[in-house]
């Protein structure tokens, strides 16, 4: 299995541990990730507020770069996935010729031959959970894990279209395949607020606090999320979230690849758990992988 890897800005910066974990996990599973040379920011659901056409065109360039490699494009970020898939839908839905006129100024063209997928989807659909299960060397037995999807990997379904947005099952299935116990949390599909933290801080902290409190109430040892932006919001802003809704209790927030890596026998240090604001090492300890 080979993919054109689109790390996205957050894996390049504040969530570098997610990049490290993704690369290590892919290597352990014999999944080849070829980093897309010259990739640019997907616009992070903000660029279209300034220039819609430019936002599509910049992602058309990213897609064209993947086409040059002849590979499907894989990200480990839900917002990158949404932005790239939205651009692809717009291009395939009629904008292709117009945007190719813009790409020509950079000597590029979009053909529409590369698909866009996410690490979670690739593990569940392309790699297969049975195959993943066979690779597990340290089952996460006894670890209660709440799967938190957030928004952009599910919605809008006409663009994302991987599973039932109202009743997703992929995270629970993956958690179970790793030997852990999936725990249902009430706000698994709610928004963490990351994209509006500057203009709507008060509301966003409430959202963040509620999600973490839901996981505490569900008896989870940790949350796992396929989105590094959600991970950052729920982890880095956890103190503000607690204050906003008046709750207590730490909730470790793991990147998807970190949980997989622990089950593949990697240590908490190798997975970068030390970079989390909310102590996550006891998750690794419980899984026997300090």
């Amino acid at each position: 299995m080979r993919y054109a890897f689109f790390p996205g800005c957050v894996l390049d910066g504040a969530a570098a541990e997610a990049r490290e974990a993704t690369v290590r996990v892919a290597r352990a599973l014999d999944i080849e990730l070829v980093e897309l040379p010259g990739w640019t920011c997907c616009g992070a659901s903000h660029a279209q507020d300034v220039d819609e056409l430019a936002a599509v065109a910049v992602n058309a360039r990213n897609l064209a770069l993947a086409e040059k490699l002849g590979l499907p494009l894989l990200t480990a970020c839900s917002t990158c996935t949404l932005m790239l898939r939205k651009a692809k839908a717009a291009l395939d839905g009629g904008l292709k010729d117009k945007v190719n006129g813009l790409l020509a100024s950079a000597g590029m063209a979009y053909a529409g031959t590369s698909d866009v997928t996410h690490l979670l989807w690739a593990l569940v659909r392309d790699y297969g959970l049975e195959r993943l299960k066979a690779k597990v060397t340290r089952p996460l037995t006894g670890l209660k894990v709440a799967g938190y999807y957030g928004c952009h990997l599910l919605r809008p379904p006409q663009v994302m279209d991987f599973e039932d947005h109202a009743r997703p099952r992929s995270l629970a299935a993956l958690i179970a395949a790793l030997g852990a116990e999936p725990v249902e949390m009430a706000s698994a599909r709610k928004c963490c607020g990351f994209h509006a933290v500057f203009p709507a801080e008060r509301d966003v902290f409430k959202m963040t606090g509620t999600i973490n409190a839901d996981a505490v109430a569900a008896g989870a040892d940790c949350i796992v999320t396929p989105c590094p932006l959600c991970q950052m919001q729920l982890d880095m802003r956890q103190p503000e979230g607690r204050e906003a809704i008046g709750t207590a209790g730490d909730m470790p927030i793991l990147h998807l690849a970190q949980l997989v890596g622990l089950a593949l026998g990697m240590t908490g240090s190798e997975m970068g758990l030390g970079r989390h604001v909310t102590a996550a090492f006891h998750v690794a300890a419980k899984a026997g992988g300090r």
Binding site: H46, V50, A57, R61, K190, C191, A196, P199, V204
Partner: protein
């Protein structure tokens, strides 16, 4: 399955309670069929609204297992397949409830009126000449014209659920956006000003409104269009606009987000200084490197050429 169960959240004006109704399954029916069956054969006191039964009036929107749907057009079999034999029915979220599944539109209508969702014709139009527009001009507002004010977009709106004092229902932005974009309207600022004052930049991008709309209207896209218009008009003295401009600028400058400067560009130096404890929290964990300035990506000249070409294509 032979039996279907509707578990309905009821409200009698004073107290809330849950009630279950069971009835025989029939294939190829709708959610509304089930409600009518209950009312006609089991409990005439159950209150809900339905009028056209053709997905045109929008009156019958309800929440089923936490998701807003139009009861008249939603196949029961699809929901039973998704959730099993028991469906949980509730009134739309983020609306005051009058009784059972009936919600109060009055306060929403007052808020909607603030955005002046009606045509204010340009000066050159007259009663004699009318307000003509070309097909291309109509196409720009065609999607928004489909909004039937069913309220589904508001039901699961994550921002609205957290607080509505500084944010409108998504359909308000759609209606405002329609008239701002309408070639016949001569008072764009009259529609734009109220939505900018009340939450235009506070949408959390959760995509619930796009997902729930039964008519394929996309309020989140309308919010983005209104934001573009506000920026075009130079109304950028707010953190939301500055944040978006910072992203667009970073893409042109280096191709990548500059996390180090983002907060200052968005909030300004003074407000950013109040975030120092948070920054220190990140520094301690190595999540923030104040000296990290992304180098321009390979092919940055091409990126800049594409952005420039996109800008010129619109002019």
């Amino acid at each position: 399955m032979e039996q279907v169960v509707y578990r309905i959240r009821r409200f009698d004006g004073e107290k809330e309670f849950w009630q279950e109704y069971s009835f025989a399954h029939e294939p190829n029916k709708t959610v509304l069929w089930g409600l009518l069956k209950i009312k006609e054969t089991a409990d005439p006191s159950l209150a809900f609204v339905a009028a056209c039964r053709s997905a045109v009036c929008g009156a019958c929107a309800v929440r089923v297992n936490g998701e807003a749907v139009l009861a008249c057009e939603t196949p029961l079999d699809a929901l039973l397949g998704r959730f099993g034999a028991t469906l949980v029915l509730e009134p739309l979220g983020n609306f005051p409830v009058i009784r059972d599944l009936v919600v109060d539109w009055e306060p929403k209508a007052v808020r909607l009126a603030e955005a002046k969702p009606w045509l204010m014709p340009r000066d050159e139009f007259s009663a004699e000449a009318g307000c003509r527009q070309t097909q291309a001009e109509f196409k720009k507002i065609n999607a928004q014209t489909n909004c039937i004010l069913c309220g589904s977009c508001a039901s699961e709106c994550n921002k609205l659920s957290t607080g509505d004092d500084d944010f409108y229902e998504p359909f308000v932005y759609t209606k405002a956006g329609k008239f701002v974009a309408d070639s016949r309207d001569g008072a764009a600022a009259e529609h734009l000003r109220p939505v900018l004052a009340r939450g235009l930049w506070k949408c959390v991008h959760c995509q619930e409104c796009v997902t729930k709309c039964p008519k394929r209207v996309a309020p989140a896209e309308d919010i983005a269009a209104l934001r573009r218009e506000s920026i075009r008009q130079g109304l950028t003295d707010n953190p939301g606009a500055r944040h978006a401009l910072a992203f667009a600028g970073d893409i042109t400058n280096s191709g990548r987000l500059n996390e180090t400067t983002m907060a200052v560009k968005t909030d300004g130096l003074l407000k950013s200084a109040t975030r120092l404890p948070f920054a220190l929290r990140l520094l301690r964990r190595g999540k923030l490197n104040p000296f990290h300035f992304p180098a321009p990506v390979e092919g940055i000249d091409g990126v800049r050429a594409i952005v420039k070409a996109a800008k010129e294509a619109k002019e």
